[in-house]
């Protein structure tokens, strides 16, 4: 299973953190520190895999963001790279030519998309279209809900 997914910028600022196991705040902070240090220290054309304690770390840089996935030792690293790529594709489809700012200003949407793709440290849905459709439907449900509120508030 996957243990965590972190997104951070080239300066080491965290943009998204998803933890798939229960951990104390201290442990989380330590992992974030270690990951950012390790990944940012890597040379441009290096191997995307590293060993850290008993976990394999798979990372990839997309534009100004580093996507870092910590997986257990029996996981397939090449597939982990594909998982990262799939998530980027989903974000791209949703935001249209996604960039780091989209993820900063709409971080909760990034989480919602991730929660339709991965769950409990495993892949939940292997089809891009189904994930996209679920997100759209959830968003519409949210819109309906909010417009209801507006009606109530404005018209009593």
């Amino acid at each position: 299973m996957m243990r965590f997914m972190l997104l951070f910028s080239r300066q080491g600022k965290l943009r998204l953190q998803k933890w798939f196991t229960s951990m104390s705040e201290r442990e989380k902070k330590k992992i974030i520190r270690d990951m950012t240090t390790m990944v940012l220290a890597r040379q441009p054309r290096s191997c995307n895999f590293m060993q850290w304690k008993d976990l394999k770390i798979v990372y990839k840089r997309y534009a100004s963001l580093y996507f870092c996935l910590g997986v257990e030792s029996q996981e397939n690293e090449l597939l982990a790279l594909e998982i990262i790529h799939r998530y980027v594709e989903l974000l791209d489809k949703y935001f249209g030519n996604v960039c780091e700012l989209d993820i900063i200003f709409n971080f909760e949407k990034a989480y919602f998309i991730l929660d339709e793709f991965l769950m409990g440290g495993e892949i939940q849905e292997t089809s891009k279209q189904i994930v996209n459709r679920s997100i759209e439907a959830s968003d519409m449900l949210q819109e309906d809900d909010i417009s209801e509120w507006y009606e109530v508030e404005l018209f009593g």
């Binding site: 191997c47 090449l78 971080f107 909760e108 769950m119 292997t126 508030e153």
Partner: protein
């Protein structure tokens, strides 16, 4: 007005802060506002406030005051609020927080909601942070959803079940039947979830594994369908149909086929098909091939298939993509024990990877190279490893050095080659070798008597060029002290002899003594070597005398003590000097882990003398003999006389530390009072004697006295413990 605007405005405000201090100010103001909003009654902007708080939390600021708000929002009937509430629960609540229990009821209700997106929120949260109690509570609900719901919910319920099984192992039984039936579904998401669930159940329980072996034909069918099916737009990735599901099925097949002939046979054809038909130009194809190779190598596959798998790994090794080379080496590492010859065929490529730019690849190549060293390739491999050592990244140096030493010890084709190799390592990476290298090398040199002349010449030359690598300098000083006379003869068979005078040799030793680069223990080596030369040279003994007397007032206590003792040797015990400083005998080579009860008696470190005046403890022999103590695990009787028995048992605490327990008992008719134990150790060892349990041994063995002694080896020991004790019998 978009509902996210307040959130985005806050984010903009925080980002425009120019200093950390300014940012903290903005955040404090925002948090105060959020807190105030939380306290107010229901307003439409609740979800924005919580979202703001979650952003602040991600920046690393405390957000625990939002926990109760999450609980409230989850209970709200509005989807927008539930959505953010559940997100908050996943981010702020984990099973260690008390507030997490409060959401159990909400989750339970939402699991039966008519809207599948609300059900989905509950399932997702449960799978993310569900505690063991919550899992136990809600497991029946999840089982129900596994059987009767639409595919969107089924796939989520499956992964929720996986989480439950991880948290509460016994609940696996509950999901077995449902998992089985899910395999027959058409929806890929559901099948994937089912495969993950079955994998989890099989890994935890071997009986369940037995039962699920029956699913192998079904799994093979599904895989075949994926591999030979035409283009499916929903699941295609670069020409491979649903690689995620393929990899997962291959992993499950691996677990089911392990150690089972029948299951392995059933999947043989499929694996061959996948291995040959999968397109390996893109990463995704290689991911599937990689998983196939891992499965083939782990089950009881027929030899043709195994050869195919190793060849795929060999192809991976030649791939341009670093990632592929890395995973090829990782896989080869796993099978180097079992399929050694197959991996040896790729040795050349692996050794080339030592020169790769990438640190991860280098590390893997190093491990694999060390595993591939054998008697037949030792010379060529060592050349590669030594050249790697001189250019490798610092974090790999000590691993490389130890690996080289181990390989040299096991496969050295000749003594001279062995010594040369160790010297080469010491010159290149002297700072990264382990502590026992110096005594080990000294032992090796002493035992290779025919090469003494060669060795001392090599070390002398090494010392002339560089005195910064401490282990090398220590060994060199020791050698010059022992075999300096061979340097002065001006003859050597194995190598070009040096033409030196006694003064030159003493100059070199004095340089080491005075250099600021020399560590205290190195200086100790140099001083002792100088002293030893006094019996091996003829003209400059006075110079040695003056060096020794100068160091009699050295600030370093260890050096001072040595110098004073050597001075005494010159002045009062000159008749003994030759005997004391003569050549060391061949040291008995005892390997680690050698339990030899007899050896312990020769190197007794404990002496007990009831009722007699003090006597000096036994002289302890050379370090090598002492090292056998480290390997003694059983209890040994070290003293048995006049009814008093003392036993010694050792427990190894660390590489350099040992706890020795001395137990004394008295089988005579009268009590022994004032009983104490005495211990002496060689200079390289440090002793801490803890307080004994008592000082009287009651008669007839009615009770025992025990004493713990902590023993450490340190290179720079500065004191020798000698506890003098006088026991008195009543």
């Amino acid at each position: 007005m978009s509902p996210s605007v307040p959130l985005q405005e806050m984010i903009r405000a925080i980002r425009s802060a120019r200093t950390q201090c300014e940012e903290r100010g903005v955040i404090q103001r925002e948090c105060a506002a959020i807190r105030a909003q939380f306290r107010q009654a229901d307003n439409g902007g609740r979800s924005h406030n919580l979202a703001k708080l979650l952003y602040v939390h991600m920046l690393g600021y405390p957000a625990h005051f939002g926990q109760m708000e999450c609980v409230r929002m989850i209970a709200s009937p509005r989807y927008s609020e539930k959505r953010v509430g559940y997100l908050g629960a996943m981010m702020l609540l984990d099973e260690k927080q008390d507030a997490s229990l409060l959401i159990t009821n909400s989750i339970k209700n939402d699991l039966s909601n008519s809207n599948q997106y609300i059900q989905s929120l509950a399932l997702c949260t449960l799978a993310c942070m569900g505690s063991a109690e919550m899992c136990r509570d809600l497991a029946p609900e999840i089982d129900r959803l596994l059987r009767a719901s639409n595919s969107y919910i089924k796939k989520k319920a499956a992964l929720c079940a996986v989480h439950i099984v991880r948290k509460v192992h016994d609940l696996g039984e509950l999901f077995t039947k449902a998992a089985r039936s899910l395999l027959t579904e058409k929806n890929h998401g559901v099948v994937h979830g089912a495969v993950v669930l079955i994998t989890e159940l099989c890994e935890r329980n071997s009986e369940t594994l037995e039962r699920f072996r029956k699913t192998v034909p079904d799994l093979v069918q599904i895989m075949k369908g994926l591999v030979i099916s035409g283009y499916s737009p929903d699941h295609d990735v670069a020409g491979i149909s649903d690689p995620f599901l393929q990899v997962r099925i291959l992993r499950l097949l691996r677990i089911l086929g392990r150690n089972n002939e029948a299951a392995s046979d059933a999947m043989n054809d499929l694996l061959a098909q996948v291995a040959t038909n999968t397109d390996s130009t893109k990463t995704v194809g290689n991911a599937v091939l990689y998983e196939t190779v891992l499965t083939v190598l782990d089950i009881k596959s027929e030899s043709g298939l195994r050869v195919l798998a190793v060849n795929i790994l060999g192809r991976f090794l030649l791939n341009n993509d670093r990632n592929i080379r890395y995973i090829a080496m990782t896989s080869l590492q796993k099978i180097v024990g079992t399929d050694h010859n197959a991996v040896q065929r790729h040795r050349g490529t692996i050794v080339d990877c030592l020169k790769d730019q990438d640190a991860s690849v280098k590390r893997r190549a190093l491990e694999l190279s060390l595993a591939l060293v054998s008697a037949s390739n030792i010379r060529s491999m060592m050349k590669e490893l030594l050249s790697f050592l001189s250019s490798c990244p610092p974090e790999l140096r000590s691993q490389t050095a130890s690996g080289i030493f181990n390989a040299a010890e096991r496969y050295a084709p000749s003594q001279r080659w062995h010594i040369d190799t160790i010297l080469h390592v010491l010159t290149t990476a002297g700072g990264d070798v382990r502590d026992e290298t110096v005594p080990n090398l000294i032992q090796l040199i002493t035992n290779t008597s025919e090469l003494h002349c060669y060795t001392v010449h090599k070390l002398y030359r090494a010392l002339l060029s560089d005195i910064s690598q401490q282990p090398l300098v220590q060994v060199a000083c020791w050698c010059i002290g022992e075999y300096g006379d061979l340097l002065l003869t001006g003859e050597c068979q194995e190598t070009e002899p040096v033409q030196v005078t006694e003064d030159y040799v003493l100059d070199v030793l004095e340089t080491v003594l005075q250099s600021h680069m020399s560590s205290p223990s190195t200086r100790g080596f140099a001083l002792t070597a100088t002293m030893k030369l006094s019996t091996r040279i003829t003209e400059n003994v006075d110079r040695i005398r003056s060096i020794v007397s100068i160091y009699g007032s050295c600030i370093d206590v260890e050096l001072q003590q040595r110098a004073v003792e050597y001075n005494a040797l010159f002045k009062k015990y000159d008749h003994m000097r030759a005997a004391v400083l003569e050549r060391m005998p061949v040291i008995e080579k005892n390997s680690q882990g050698h339990t030899n009860g007899e050896t312990i008696k020769e190197s007794q470190t404990v002496k007990v003398k009831p009722g007699e005046p003090q006597q000096p403890a036994n002289q302890v022999q050379a370090n090598a003999a002492f090292y056998t103590v480290f390997s003694i695990v059983a209890t040994v009787t070290v003293y048995e006389k006049d009814g008093v028995t003392v036993t010694l048992s050792c427990e190894k605490q660390s590489d350099s530390g040992l706890t020795v327990t001395l137990t004394a008992s008295n089988s005579t008719e009268s009590d022994i009072r004032g009983f104490t134990l005495q211990a002496a150790v060689p200079k390289s060892v440090q002793l801490h004697m803890k307080a004994p349990s008592g000082d009287s041994l009651p008669a007839r063995g009615t009770a025992k006295v025990t004493q713990m002694v902590l023993v450490f080896t340190f290179a720079d020991m500065s004191e020798v413990y000698e506890t003098k004790v006088s026991p008195v019998t009543s």
